[in-house]
Symmetry: C2
Amino acid sequence: MSVVRDGQDGRDGRDGREDRYERPHRPARSEGEPAADRRSGIRLAALRLFAAQGYRSTTMTDIGAAVGIRGPSLYKHVASKHELLAEIMIGTMEQLIADNIEAVGGTDDVREQLRRSVEAHIRYHARHRLEAFVGNREIGNLEPPDQERVLGRRSDYERRYRELIERGAAEGAFEVRSARIASYSILDMGIGVASWFHEGGEFSVDQLAYQYGDIALRIVNA
Amino acid sequence: MSVVRDGQDGRDGRDGREDRYERPHRPARSEGEPAADRRSGIRLAALRLFAAQGYRSTTMTDIGAAVGIRGPSLYKHVASKHELLAEIMIGTMEQLIADNIEAVGGTDDVREQLRRSVEAHIRYHARHRLEAFVGNREIGNLEPPDQERVLGRRSDYERRYRELIERGAAEGAFEVRSARIASYSILDMGIGVASWFHEGGEFSVDQLAYQYGDIALRIVNA
């Protein structure tokens, strides 16, 4: 199950999750814009449609309609909807890993490395809720070798957390029964943010990042 | 994203998640069994199919085939696949709430209430991974009034955790910056268990429950 929250602003009942299902469309762009922008516009339209109605139920025609391209012209920009799904999911993991490398690289203090890592993890999940939702739901629809690419990057990302916690424990800065469980709990609480957070609630993205950073340090008894 | 783990037993790469996609079928049952067993057999077959291929892509014919019922006879047992989805998702939340009531009711010590609540939450998610997966993915396909029923129960469940943490803080047993964020982090780390746990790994369900109970008490600084 996924617990749907009251809404962090204290409103009863819904949590903004439904909002994610309700806005699959974006304005069409003009034909004159650069190809890279065009491509990212198509990817964003696909992301919204995959989130709103599922990957299997989304057609290239739907994606074309959302960006104002009719008929086979869309294939000048992108080969298939699978290519878009793979690009979204691989891009998500590469961004998370790049953010983590920056977070850890800026200091030698293992406590501060964990705090910054968690803050980056929270910021990403608060700001990329659709990517998180689609990434969770559609991994089974990703075909080889793209599925292996995503799973390999997920393993790498998770391993970075586990090894950081193991190092902190070895240095005497952290105290955990299992570095694996500690890392899973920290990652999962952050992933959960994508399922309930919405802008304009009780906390900003940064306030949320700081709180989860503190919670992570409690989990490792830093 | 959802981080796919190395496997808690230390094997590299996959996490048992794929297993969940690979076993949609179960043996057919005989026509002579009691109606209640028949019904629960149909529900289990539907759960496995919804997890494996998605609710939208599953037909009543698929469900019938999985339990050895051909043609319209299935409708003697169940009115629609939506009814099965609603039953699965409402049943999940009612079980979680019932488990939580038992966990809190057995003691007056707020620390022990939180520990037992978390242990029950972990046990459910370790043992009902398909329900958790389908519950997360298919909430958007649930129609009114069933969607409201599920969302209302999720809010109730979440509120029980938040109020428990608020009470512990008021009693001086817990110390948190935000009871809401503390409760979300505890619930989300438990929900995450459903995405990576598999039997036969490094930890049993009970060992996992104890570890997460300890982590939850750290989160609230008990």
